[in-house]
């Protein structure tokens, strides 16, 4: 069974902390994505990666960075967490561009 896993389901951090969200996929997919999901706004793309060490900005990259050192792992980094980054974060992967995406269960991050 294909799987995308995220390191935490729930996370509570303080303003100014550095936050790492980890995502691992076991499908040997080339492409990986980070989204944030907020009520009434749907899913918004933060960053994506189409190969190891390659990354591209999505629609809302400000305040975030990413790292992809290995094909199966894609990390989202909040350099200095702020309260407006409280959200649900979803990781996804796909085999080819514009193909079906497989999603992880999400990490609900609260920044106090």
């Amino acid at each position: 069974d294909v799987k995308v896993t995220q390191s935490s389901r729930y996370l509570v951090k303080r303003t100014g902390e550095k936050v790492f969200l980890e995502c691992v996929q076991d499908m040997d997919h080339e492409n990986m994505f980070w989204y944030r999901q907020d009520p009434g706004l749907g899913l918004r793309l933060i960053y994506f990666s189409y190969d190891v060490k390659m990354k591209e900005k999505g629609d809302i990259p400000e305040g975030y960075s990413v790292s992809r050192e290995k094909k199966e792992r894609f990390s989202l980094i909040l350099e200095s967490a702020s309260t407006n980054q409280t959200s649900m974060y979803l990781c996804a992967s796909s085999r080819q561009a514009l193909d079906e995406q497989f999603f992880g269960p999400g990490t609900r991050l609260t920044v106090l």
Binding site: G40, G42, L43, L90, L98, G106
Partner: protein, 112 residues
């Protein structure tokens, strides 16, 4: 600009009734179209997708969708809704390479 509109934020249907969730898109070329479902506290799961060919596509869990180019629509249908279908549904367009545009979602409530 490319966009996806799901005009219904909430829909309530009785168990056994038919269902149609609306999705309209704005995109210059032939789109790649998807419907995903998100159960509470979970990631998104693909219901069905349209890339080309037959405009009526069948998906999992008894869902189907019809691509109508003239109306720029890709509505999701199910002839008889089950209580387990209560969830949030997202329509998405595969747009510029690697990038997807998601609608804001329709939350389905099923009455027993």
């Amino acid at each position: 600009a490319q966009s996806v509109t799901q005009p219904d934020i909430h829909i309530t249907v009785s168990e056994g009734a038919s269902l149609e969730l609306r999705c309209n898109y704005s995109y210059g070329a032939t789109p790649y179209l998807f419907w995903y479902v998100q159960s509470p506290g979970q990631g998104l799961q693909l219901l069905l997708k349209y890339f080309s060919g037959d405009t009526l596509v069948q998906g999992i869990k008894g869902f189907e969708a019809e691509f109508k180019r003239s109306q720029s629509s890709f509505n999701l249908r199910k002839p008889s809704v089950h209580w387990s279908d209560a969830a949030e549904y997202f329509c998405a367009v595969g747009a510029v390479t690697y990038k997807y545009i998601f609608g804001t979602g329709t939350r389905l409530k099923v009455l027993a």
